[in-house]
């Protein structure tokens, strides 16, 4: 290879290394700030600020969903399979909201450790299958893949 081109090739490669390393360090420093939501474990460990608007996420616990008598307020528990928080929400739930499904909510934690949600979003997983096969699906005992870390 021509020495000038070789020099330019080395320059481009070292440029890429420098940019990658600095981005890596930047993201390492920002690590926790890039999560969209706090897990129930983090909230119970007081890692999430109290009385401040935050997002929380997890799975809706089976059998925990209730509607209050006003017909609007819903209460349910959200878990990350290690810790559980109770949630109340007044409003319309998304179509995919269901027990044993993922949710991401924004709202505040009140002084009793109860999460008052202002917005509830449904988080669905990466599995797709026809309705007929749904019954062959074993109810997963293991947490979904996105809880592995």
């Amino acid at each position: 290879m021509h020495p000038v081109r070789k020099k330019r090739l080395i320059w481009v490669l070292s440029f890429l290394v420098v940019v990658s390393v600095s981005t890596g360090l930047l993201f390492y420093a920002l690590k926790d700030n890039l999560n969209l939501f706090y897990t129930p474990t983090q909230i119970l460990n007081k890692e999430a600020p109290a009385n401040k608007k935050i997002r929380a996420g997890g799975m809706v616990v089976e059998g925990s969903f209730k509607r209050l008598d006003d017909g609007l307020t819903a209460t349910f528990d959200v878990t990350d399979y290690e810790a559980t928080i109770s949630v109340s929400y007044k409003g319309i739930l998304p179509n995919l909201f269901a027990e044993k499904e993922g949710v991401v909510m924004s709202g505040e934690l009140n002084s009793e450790g109860h999460f008052v949600a202002h917005e509830v979003l449904a988080k669905h997983d990466e599995n797709y299958m026809p309705p007929e096969l749904k019954d062959t699906l074993k109810t997963p005992d293991a947490p979904p893949t996105y809880y592995k870390n």
Binding site: R8, F15, V19, T23, L34, Y128, P131, L133
Partner: protein
């Protein structure tokens, strides 16, 4: 191999060879897109959880794939044009940017349309969606930088450097759903594992991915041919092409 590499760098050679390939590529593109779209939208079974709204995956995933892969194509062309100063590399860098931007926009737009009936919102600032928006800005920035210079060599050099900086964003987009808590679900099609999708739904998706790749190649070739003619308009071979 080096000879082929240098030949590829010649706009004249690229123009003549791409002219021969074009009709076949156009045929393959149209066939794949028509078959994939009809199969995916009309014949694939609906999803047990999302119903028919999951079908937007047949546009969302292929355009997102090509938006990421197209960036590597563009950045590689940028690196080649920096190191070897090949004419075709500069042309590729220039023509890929707007097409890649269009693919990224489509992926974001279809994602928003899909998000509303499933998640309950069009947009959320999670790591996946935000990094994808940065990709759109990178493509647009490279395109704008290309237009900002009157001297073509300066335009190419600065756009190539910006393209190289942006390459770090691609693995971040790809891994964002595994590294951080996001609203976006993890990948369905994985490099090392079995895809988490029923085969009846998977086949049309694979066909659509191939079809959008073919469409991307077609769009780039067509755009590159126009750019070649514009840049080489004073050369003998373009003049004789115009006369015939």
């Amino acid at each position: 191999m080096w000879q082929f590499f240098h030949k590829l760098g010649s706009p004249k050679w690229f123009y003549s060879i791409s002219g021969k390939v074009l009709p076949y590529l156009a045929f393959v593109t149209i066939t794949l897109l028509v078959v994939g779209a009809i199969w995916g939208l009309a014949f694939a079974p609906m999803d047990y959880k999302q119903g028919n709204s999951f079908r937007i995956i047949y546009i969302h995933v292929p355009t997102a794939f090509v938006a990421l892969a197209g960036y590597y194509l563009m950045a590689t062309a940028g690196a080649i044009s920096l190191i070897w100063r090949m004419k075709m590399a500069g042309i590729m860098l220039k023509v890929t940017a707007p097409i890649g931007a269009a693919m990224t926009f489509l992926a974001l737009f279809t994602g928003a349309v899909w998000g509303k009936p499933t998640w309950g919102t069009y947009w959320v600032w999670d790591a996946r969606i935000t990094s994808m928006l940065i990709l759109l800005f990178l493509y647009l920035g490279i395109y704008a930088l290309m237009q900002a210079f009157t001297r073509e060599d300066l335009a190419e050099k600065s756009a190539a450097i910006l393209a190289l900086v942006g390459t770090v964003n691609i693995p971040i987009i790809y891994k964002s759903v595994d590294w951080w808590y996001t609203l976006h679900q993890p990948a369905t099609l994985k490099l090392t594992e079995k895809p988490s999708m029923h085969p009846d739904m998977l086949w049309p998706l694979l066909i659509m991915i191939a079809g959008v790749y073919a469409f991307f190649a077609l769009a780039i070739i067509l755009h590159a041919r126009v750019e070649i003619l514009r840049r080489e308009k004073k050369t003998g071979w373009v003049q004789s092409l115009l006369k015939s």
